[in-house]
Symmetry: C2
Subunit: 220 residues, 2 copies
Amino acid sequence: MPKVGIVLSGSGYLDGAEIQESVLTMLALDRAGAEMIYMAPDIDQLHVVNHQTGKEVEGASRNVLVESARITRGNVHAIGTINSDDLDALIFPGGFGVAKNLCDYAMVGADCQVDPVIENLAIKMHNAGKPIGVMCIAPAMMARILGNQGLKSDLTIGSDEGTANDINTMGGNHITCSVREIVVDKENKVVSTPAYMEAQCISEAADGIEKLVSEVLALI
Amino acid sequence: MPKVGIVLSGSGYLDGAEIQESVLTMLALDRAGAEMIYMAPDIDQLHVVNHQTGKEVEGASRNVLVESARITRGNVHAIGTINSDDLDALIFPGGFGVAKNLCDYAMVGADCQVDPVIENLAIKMHNAGKPIGVMCIAPAMMARILGNQGLKSDLTIGSDEGTANDINTMGGNHITCSVREIVVDKENKVVSTPAYMEAQCISEAADGIEKLVSEVLALI
């Protein structure tokens, strides 16, 4: 039974992890017989957004780890306590939480920095030849992580020109991809899919995520 | 394209809607080609629970409608604005939110009262011969709603004896059911599945929810 780490960044796409992408990832992994290890940073979110209005809630504060536990029904590990030796693969669902809580891409773009604990875990996984799956905006963070190592990885966020350019600026090789498909970098063992960077409905995101999970497991 | 209302009760199974059940319902409906209309009461949650510790957060307050929008990426209607004439079917995902925010079953058991707006919508749907799907703890609320009309409906929450007895006390007919299966009351057009009342993993809940959605659509 392969052990797959899922890195969450809160609960709700405007200030945390994209909930639907997270659940679809869990469903595909569970149906494939994988064991899931949930993790998230034990830090405050950048901010809290009212998902009904889209507006920031002034003065509100929520913890990324605590909110992530809403998706998983508890049982989320503080990411610093997880050792790459205990994982066979790693998957990052998307949502603005990736670009606001795991790194600062939402604020500074291609000059972004990644939370050192997350960057360290991802590099250790890569160096051990273990596959990493990234969806939605997470491929931008992965371009930064791999680019910092001088690695040029094939990645997709779909077709958004600005984000695609940023990925190339950070050292990645962006490949345009439709929402139900994936881009596979076999050499670096990185798999990506656009998910809600492109999806107009949940089944579009699900098709790409199911392919991503299948390919990540095949690369173990 | 059938129009199916999904009634949410927050976001997180300890104080709101069960997130995984909600997303699995959306996925099954979308793949079946249904149009989804999301709705939730515009009220404060009973309370806020830290899902990492399971403990209540003293002094915290969240709105059911606003939190529900995290699951659906916005676009949730205040339930009082929805007319049963605009729906072909209605589905209630579970989670403690059903028993805490939509009715008071979690506090008072079989003597519970249901939010009048929700009870009214469910009765209008039933009287119009439109199917209703209920999962997890929502069948207990449905027993109260139908029992108040003198209707005895076949329902399941799985095998939990206390809840099953309550369903019978409220006028329902509880039928024991395994997690991957459904109970169908063709006369009353009510479909139920245990979901996370029984599920040990997401794929178990998914199998039952997919069958529930399929049967609800078949009953339209």
